[in-house]
């Protein structure tokens, strides 16, 4: 039964997932070309010293928002069709406990998103290992961790906003979502977030509960 629910979620999201995989791949290729060019033009010593002494980022500036964009797109593509014509009623009518149905849908989205982020990071780490030492790459991953968490939280907020049946409350949820997202994008030196990361992880776990609250309001017929 859970496999069938995954099948339904995949049917809804396969296009957006393919598009996101393409965008992630294109971003990786861009990063590879950019890094290769940088090392050819400036040389390894100059690049390393810029990274270590001037905190030069290893990745393009715009890449920090990519996981969030992926989370939002995935969330909306999964839950907007569910709320169109209140189809969620059909889903909740399936012979499974309602909380498990909602949880399965959310776990599907989180798994897809996590897979995209994990494999992109893996490819990136393998490639950059031929240019940078392990310590610099580890520092890059620590810097990227809040962006990844922003993607997961953004996904959960998108789900919460969609499932909420009352428009006024939806706007309120969106405002909370925007405020929460700001926490992931403070401008700071790389590695500055390390001590704040546990709180961001906690925020991801808390956000997982929000869609259940709105699903319960949907069940009660809140209007």
């Amino acid at each position: 039964m859970y496999k069938a629910l995954f099948y339904k979620e995949w049917t809804k999201t396969k296009r957006i997932t393919s598009l996101l995989a393409f965008v992630f791949l294109a971003s990786l290729i861009y990063t590879f070309i950019n890094t290769g060019q940088l090392f050819r033009v400036s040389g390894a010593v100059e690049v390393w010293s810029a990274v270590l002494l001037k905190d030069m980022p290893l990745l393009p500036n715009w890449i920090d928002k990519l996981p969030l964009l992926a989370g939002l797109l995935l969330g909306f593509s999964q839950f907007v069709p569910e709320m169109t014509d209140k189809r969620l009623k059909l889903t909740l009518h399936l012979p499974l406990p309602e909380t498990r149905i909602v949880a399965t849908m959310l776990v599907y989205g989180l798994l897809v998103l996590f897979s995209l982020l994990f494999f992109s990071s893996l490819i990136l780490v393998v490639y950059l290992s031929s240019y940078y030492p392990q310590e610099i790459i580890a520092m890059m991953l620590w810097s990227a961790a809040p962006w990844f968490l922003a993607g997961l939280t953004g996904y959960l907020f998108a789900a919460w906003i969609c499932i909420e049946p009352v428009w006024k409350q939806r706007v309120f949820n969106a405002l909370i979502g925007v405020t929460a997202m700001l926490l992931f994008f403070f401008s700071a030196r790389s590695g500055a977030y390390v001590f704040f990361l546990p709180w961001l992880v906690l925020l991801v776990f808390i956000s997982f509960g929000f869609p259940f609250y709105s699903a319960s309001r949907f069940k009660d017929g809140a209007q």
Partner: protein, 291 residues
């Protein structure tokens, strides 16, 4: 006889607008019950309450004896639900949606689904989103037949269907329900197809049940009477429904025999009283009025 659906003292408001006050009814096993009412009388509301998608102000509904707010997965599997407008997951195609639902029901009857779809000019890979409302209605009905539930709840199944599809839907449903001894609870605001379908009839008025009777009893006993009268106004009489003047003639509706109606109207100088057998749709109009 087992009670499949029970509604006890349901009261519900949307804001300050009363939808029902102390609504009570039950549906016995094997019956096809039609809930008929004008737009806005709360037909869909009661379907939502029954399935636990709306919390009423007070009262309780039970499906197979289970409280509407805590319907177990096993009971959900015994209930086939058709939402108003034949809503389905339209991102699936014909084959995918069958595959999806088949995973949830152990007694899934795949052949019943494809048998029904043979009548449609659709391919197995056609997406539901590209289908007409009529075609989608048949897909939804096919899925219900394949699920083979003990209770079918159909919300305004006739909505958006042309007469051909409506008739097709009704004929298949009647055959299925009577052959398999299923219980069906349906709502509709198109009454003309119901005559051949429903055993029992609940007619809803704003805020209350106007009538709950076997359809046969309504068809056999409820009559329209036309007459002329000297009086310009006829006061409201018990057991005479919607008495009104249309042009130079009067009409009224009643379950009473002709002689008794004649007697009731004698005080108003009624004459030339004629009795007419009427369809269920006319009976509905007679009971609820035209406006």
């Amino acid at each position: 006889m087992d009670t499949i659906i029970e509604c006890d003292n349901i009261t519900h408001y949307y804001g300050k607008r009363l939808i029902y006050q102390n609504l009570n009814f039950e549906v016995k096993k094997g019956k096809i019950l039609g809930l008929l009412g004008k737009n806005g009388t709360g037909k869909t509301t009661i379907i939502n309450i029954l399935n636990g998608y709306l919390k009423p102000r007070s009262g309780v509904c039970r499906l197979f004896g289970e409280d509407m707010e805590h319907i177990s997965p096993a009971t959900k599997a015994r209930v086939g639900l058709l939402l108003e407008g034949h809503i389905q997951h339209t991102y699936f195609n014909v084959e995918q949606i069958e595959h999806f639902y088949s995973q949830f029901f152990p007694n899934w009857k795949r052949d019943a689904y494809y048998e029904l779809l043979k009548k449609l000019q659709v391919t197995r890979t056609q997406k539901l989103s590209t289908m007409s409302c009529g075609q989608r209605s048949q897909v939804a009905l096919g899925l219900l037949f394949a699920q083979d539930p003990e209770l079918l709840i159909l919300d305004d199944f006739s909505m958006g269907l042309d007469p051909g599809y409506r008739r097709l839907f009704v004929e298949f449903l009647k055959e299925y329900a009577t052959a398999e001894g299923k219980t069906v609870f349906l709502t509709s605001h198109i009454i003309q197809d119901m005559e051949m379908l429903i055993d029992d009839c609940i007619i809803l008025d704003y805020g209350r049940i106007l009538l709950h009777l076997p359809t046969k009893e309504i068809m056999e006993n409820f009559r329209r009477f036309r007459f002329s009268a000297e009086a310009n106004e006829i006061s409201s009489q018990s057991d005479l429904w919607n008495t009104q003047k249309i042009g130079s003639e009067w009409e009224t509706y009643s379950f009473l025999p002709t002689a008794e109606v004649e007697q009731r109207l004698a005080a108003f100088g009624a004459n030339k009283l004629t009795e007419e057998r009427i369809s269920l749709e006319d009976a509905f109009i007679g009971l609820t009025g035209k406006y």
